[in-house]
Amino acid sequence: METFLNILISGILLGGIYSLVSIGLNLIFGVVRIVNFAQGEFVMLAMYATYFCTMHLGINPYLAALLVASLMFVFGLAVQRAVLQPLQTEPMMQIFATFGLLILLENSMLAVTRGEAFSLSGAYSSVVINLFGLKASGVRVVVFIAATAIAAALMLFLQRTMPGKAIRAVIQDRQAARLMGINVERAYLLTFALGTALAGIAGALLAPIYTLSPYIGGNFILAAFAVVVLGGLGSVPGAYIGGLIVGLIESFSGYYVDPALKQAIWFVIFVAVLIIKPSGLMGQVGAEEVGLREQS
């Protein structure tokens, strides 16, 4: 029983990580209808940036999160303007471009760090929290709480604020939104930057958990895609719940099947959702429709 509960907790916490990483991606998918292959690399960049802030500037990693998120926001603006906006009507070129970005960022970091592994050792990583008699890693619990808080805050933003409502309108129907006077291009810019900033927060909070490596982005991107498909395009609660489900499935299958088959599991989830319910748990638009709608 205790093993089961341990796996459960582990799965939920892992799910929190996936939710956090995927929320930004989901927003970008839903609004800008762009598949950002480089999203995992944004997380990776943020992780290294946080490391730098913490180890070399002596800032508390959780405060660094705010700094890193802001920097990533600006970075996101730049990427959207320079790379994605020109390619709005060319989905295949978007794939090439964001994949190129992925390779570029991954290997630039490799070149800079020369393959040396870093880890944010110290006080934070070793904190263990006692959860109903079971042990849980403190930093992971923080991630879970953050994921929940961010999901809630994002939902409030989308429901209550004007820019949020504009974004929701664009998710539903960009032609109609344009006709209503919504500046769709600005919505894209804002959303992409926001999605990047969210990746930044994710990276900052995950820095104490993982050993930093330039390849860690690739680890997240596939899981994030599975989460987004499962949860449904453009749905924040979908991304949150989807992340938890993927985390739980990975945790349980890792124990009862084989941890090495992680990627195979993600793919099976991906395909299963597409066959059974293509719009995901809560999505308004199915993954299969992306690319059908006019991109302009």
């Binding site: 762009i34 598949v35 292959f37 790379v83 020109p86 390619l87 060319e90 989905p91 295949m92 070129m93 978007q94 794939i95 090439f96 471009a97 994949f99 190129g100 970005l101 992925l102 390779i103 570029l104 960022l105 991954e106 290997n107 630039s108 490799l110 070149a111 020369r114 393959g115 330039p214 596939l222 895609f225 599975a226 498909v229 084989d258 090495a260 088959l261 992680k262 990627q263 195979a264 993600w266 793919f267 991906f270 395909v271 597409l274 066959i275 293509p278 993954a287 299969e288 429709e289 992306v290 690319g291 059908l292």
Partner: protein
Amino acid sequence: MTAITQTLTNGQRAGSGPKPLAEMLLQYAGWLLLSLLPLVLVWNKPYWVNIVAYSYLFAGLAAAWNIIGGFGGQFSLGHGVFFAIGAYAVARLYLDLGLTPWLAIYPAAGLASMVAVLISWPTFRLRGPFFAIATMAINEACFAVANYADRLTGGPRGILIPFRASVANMIFIERWKYAVLTFGFMSLVVLLTVVLRRSRLGHYLLALREDEDTARAAGIDVLKVKLIGMAISAALTGAGGGIFAMYVRVIDPPTLFALPDIGVKFALISLIGGIGTIMGPVVGALLIVPVENFLRGTLGGMVPGGHLIVLGIVLLCAALFLKRGLVGAFTAVLRRYWHGKAP
């Protein structure tokens, strides 16, 4: 119209009926013979012969990808899977059953084809980028499986094919023989795409790439056409994988499934050369493979991952500025020039 524009506009003469297929094949055979030039130039330098041989192989593989990725518009990042299946199948058939690779290639291609149809059938429900993601996930999943199923694939260490040179074994001492082999492979695939481009399947693939609804309204069974295109593409890729196995004689999961080196490379070569063109993959490969080798040698030594940084930049810039690829841009310029000259 000059002969060149005739070639580049897929063999249709204004007003005088369709150009016979034989004539088109002959024309492209001419271009292919022209692409032998690099080999001829470096024939006595084994290092360069090796690179040219690789270029031909990847040209053929990119041309195979181009069938479903270029003509069909289905951006697959998972062709490494078919490549790997071909490689492992030929290796296993050769080592365990003593079957000559010249024959083993056929069942290997067939297997790759069947697997392709199986995994594409659910994933073709996805449009555009999501299809790409799914194929990427398949690639990663198969990578994990290849590491795991070590009885079949030799696991992480892979399979080593001992060096026993003979034509029957498809193992040669002289590098230039490999170059001839891969040239043959490339020519076969390219000429096949010429036939395909003219066929009903080719037209249907291009149609569904542009707009699936329009295609359906024209009576096209979109899923069936995609699957057939994928089956052909995967079979050819698997064959190329088999040849690769007999060339390098060491195949392991990292070599076969690495996206930047294999899966993405096919797409990149097609992009630079010209997606959906016929000679594009050849031009792209003859450009990229040598350059990448050069970069890997120089940059890769100085800066870890240096050559891949360049690859990333090339991908980005090509997507932004060179959408039609070299052949595509060349064709467009020619057409404009011809229009300007005509009365």
